[in-house]
Amino acid sequence: MSLRIANQVRRGPAVTLSVDGQAVEAFAGESLAAALWAAGRRALRQSPRAGTPRGVFCMMGACQECLVRVDGQRALACQVAVYADMRVETGAAT
């Protein structure tokens, strides 16, 4: 079962992102954090001091846990909308 709730909404066109070199399907305009979440990519980075895995936590740009690289630039996954061929790198941010 998908985490995307099907009956409430018609989503935009399907797009493919590259996440750490792997193809991930998502929908145009979707939050990158949501797209990663739906794809089961829960651990997005490690905390720099203890090295423990971290993922989406606040969804509103405050906690900074979902920091990834988007097309080479540091960005919060929860503050970015996906588009076709977006290149995402996790784990590399810190």
Binding site: I5, A34, L44, T52, C58, Q73
Partner: protein, 478 residues
């Protein structure tokens, strides 16, 4: 977009929109600046514009109110600047932001701060694991992304969001493995009289509880999360009973459940960084969610040209925020000489009466959302308090024992609050722990607000430049 707004509104949530509409009514040149890409704030966050609701009503009245406010804002003609991180505000009210086209700034005559709130999550072992997220985060996933926070979810914490999220999960086809509420049924009953002011919400809350019970969702009152552990791709979540003050009880009867994810939250905290940066006078009000600015009846803060409204001035909910925003806008128009005192009074009077009613309701909600103090006593030594820097309760205690007397000294010594979230996630918890020693939150203090108000990409801020473009000051003496 306009370059020379008379009034700049920081935040496009209900308070910011309210202020913008009032200013537009009186011909004031206003600009609304927000980091998001549409008005509505967190409470009315819209779906992406590539999404089309299936005509199914029942996405809730919030969605409709959000759409209405976005329409009103668009019709008002007030200028907006979305996708901007405001990172500095000077005492001369120069506002600096970083947007898609690089750095920019404005010099308005007045500033309405409508910064909203962030979620409070009181730490517990395992709260940093992927798969653990805030109730507000789950709400955003559910409402703006139509996505479940998990197939099998534990929902825990306190306040009305618990039932809203659990209900939305069930409605979306997910399973709520358990709902653990710090409050007991008695707490909810005591809140009833104030909640009766908003019978719609009360009925909705009651319907949620009934539906969850009917679906067989275990409603565990007076329970909290003891611990979360990773289990394969999911989690193992231990829940246990607490007393009325949130202190652990009957640990032998703790239950451990398997789930995809744990959604947990303990109320909201006003976002006051911008106001503190400007040196606005603040005071601590636990019931309002934390430190809040001292405002007059017309939403003026303690320095000329500075106004504030909404949850960022004390958590009272979206309805009150919109009304307070309108009053702030009217007051700014008054102070600019666009309306006279009589006009202001006539327009603000009815708003103020509705605001008083909304605040009674908001106060009751806030009380339901406030975590009991025993939760902090129960924080064990190994629990991470500061997520960014992995600072544990034991390290905080150590610093306190060696003489750290307030939150800022503690920050210096432990790096607690020095990470990229800039203390937003740990600030309230740390202050609560310091207060156990200093006796009060007022004595424990609040982080000194610093620029940048959010982390900034160096590349984006520095832009394209040559060495000659660096405005080097004169050399230091030899």
């Amino acid at each position: 977009m306009i370059r020379d707004p008379e009034i700049l509104i920081l935040g496009a949530g209900p308070a910011g929109v309210g202020a913008a509409l009032a200013l537009a009514d009186h011909g004031v040149r206003a600009l609304v600046v927000d980091s998001g890409f549409a008005a509505g704030g967190q409470v009315y966050r819209p779906m992406p514009d590539t999404f089309a609701p299936n005509g199914t009503p029942g996405l809730g009245p919030d969605q409709e109110e959000g759409a209405r406010q976005r329409r009103l804002l668009a019709d008002s003609g007030v200028a907006t600047a979305f996708g901007r991180l405001v990172w500095s505000i000077g005492t001369d009210l120069r506002v600096d932001a970083l947007g898609p086209d690089g750095p920019e700034f404005w010099r308005p005559k007045g500033l309405v701060v409508a910064a909203g709130a962030t979620e409070r999550v009181v730490p517990f072992p395992g709260w940093t694991l992927p798969g653990v997220m805030g109730l507000a985060a789950a709400t955003i996933l559910l409402k703006s992304q139509c996505m479940l926070p998990g197939r099998r979810v534990v929902v825990a914490g306190c306040g009305p969001l618990l039932f809203a999220v659990a209900n939305a999960v069930v409605k979306g086809g997910g399973q709520v493995v358990a709902l653990a509420d710090l409050a007991g049924p008695g707490t909810w009953l005591r809140a009833m009289p104030a909640l009766l002011g908003r019978p719609g919400d009360l009925l909705q809350g009651g319907a949620w509880m009934a539906r969850l019970a009917a679906k067989g969702v275990p409603l565990m009152f007076r329970h909290t999360v003891r611990e979360a552990r990773a289990l394969g791709a999911g989690l193992k979540v231990s829940l246990g009973a607490v007393d009325a003050n949130g202190r652990p009880m009957r640990p032998a009867r703790d239950r451990t459940l398997e789930a995809d994810s744990l959604v947990v939250g303990h109320g909201l905290i006003p976002s006051t960084e911008a106001l503190r940066l400007l040196g606005a006078e603040m005071y601590f009000d636990a019931e309002a969610g934390g430190w809040v600015p001292r405002l007059d009846d017309d939403q003026r803060a303690s320095r000329a040209g500075l106004y504030a409204a909404g949850d960022g001035t004390g958590v009272r909910g979206a309805v009150g925020a919109f009304l307070a925003g309108r009053i702030a806008g009217l007051t700014a128009a008054l102070d600019l000489g666009r309306i006279d005192a009589g006009q202001h009074a006539r327009a603000a009077g009815p708003l103020r009466r509705r605001l008083a009613q909304a605040r009674r309701f908001g106060r009751a909600m806030s009380r339901l959302m406030a975590p009991p103090s025993g939760l902090y006593d129960a924080l064990d030594a190994h629990t991470v308090v500061c997520r960014c820097e992995d600072v544990t309760r034991a390290e905080v205690n150590q610093a306190l024992e060696s003489g750290a007397a307030d939150v800022n000294q503690l920050k210096s010594w432990t790096r607690c609050g020095m990470g990229p979230c800039q203390g937003r996630m740990c600030g309230d918890t740390v202050a609560q722990i310091v207060a156990l020693r200093t006796g009060s939150r007022a004595a424990a203090g609040a982080w000194t607000a610093r620029v940048p108000l959010r982390p900034l990409n160096v590349e984006a801020l520095a832009g394209d430049f040559d060495y000659d473009d660096i405005p080097l000051p004169t050399a230091a003496p030899l």
